[in-house]
């Protein structure tokens, strides 16, 4: 925890937040939960300063539960930086090319000042790509 004021609430949003409204936080919470239900991996979204760029994003990623099976989308709106960090296990199903595609989708929404919409599209796209193919006798019958 870099600043001591960020309390991760797994399965819920953290406090405090200024620019994101309650409804926007609720949307992001639903987005990450839905992404987890799509592919089974843990998803996290971080919006805030990334003073050391990717190193800061990796530090945030390490705070997620079971980071090897987690994906973090970190966005710094002030410097307009997007960082996507995938855990070692997730990287098997979610390659960097899929991350680039998701970043591209997010960029177009961010350019239109739609922060939440971009995160929603990007996380959903990542979850769709991270969905591993069903394995006989291991996948639950649907």
């Amino acid at each position: 925890m870099p600043s001591g004021e960020l309390v991760p609430g797994y399965g819920g949003a953290s406090e405090p937040v200024g620019a994101l409204s309650e409804s926007q936080r609720a949307v992001l919470d639903r987005v990450v939960q839905r992404a987890r239900s799509i592919c089974g991996y843990c998803f996290g979204v971080y919006v805030g300063p990334l003073p050391e760029g990717r190193a800061s994003a990796i530090a945030q990623h390490a705070m997620l539960p079971d980071p090897t099976s987690a994906v973090l989308v970190a966005v710094d709106p002030s410097t307009r930086i997007i960082e996507i960090v995938t855990g070692r296990t997730v990287a098997v199903d979610l390659d960097d090319r899929a991350c680039e595609l998701a970043a591209l989708a997010m960029k177009s929404s961010f350019a239109a000042d739609d922060l939440v919409g971009g995160l929603r599209d990007g996380v959903t796209l990542l979850a769709e790509h991270a969905r591993a193919p069903k394995v006989m006798h291991l996948s639950d019958p649907d």
């Binding site: 843990c42 960090v85 591209l104």
Partner: protein
Amino acid sequence: MNALQALLLFVGIPVAFAGFVYVAVSASSWTRSGRASADYEGGPFLVASDPAVPNPSILPNDMGSTSVVGGGISAQW
């Protein structure tokens, strides 16, 4: 139709319509919710889903490795 009426018809109405369109397009960025990009003033925000679902088909490929990060990208808009 005198000159004033013609001016209002061919200049006033188009200008008023252009102004209406401009306001309609840019009004969202004047509100607080629409400004959550360049002038983001909120504190850091982290939301995470529940932990990953255990998957027995995924085997630890390198048990000795301490690296947690497997990949990812950096981008800017």
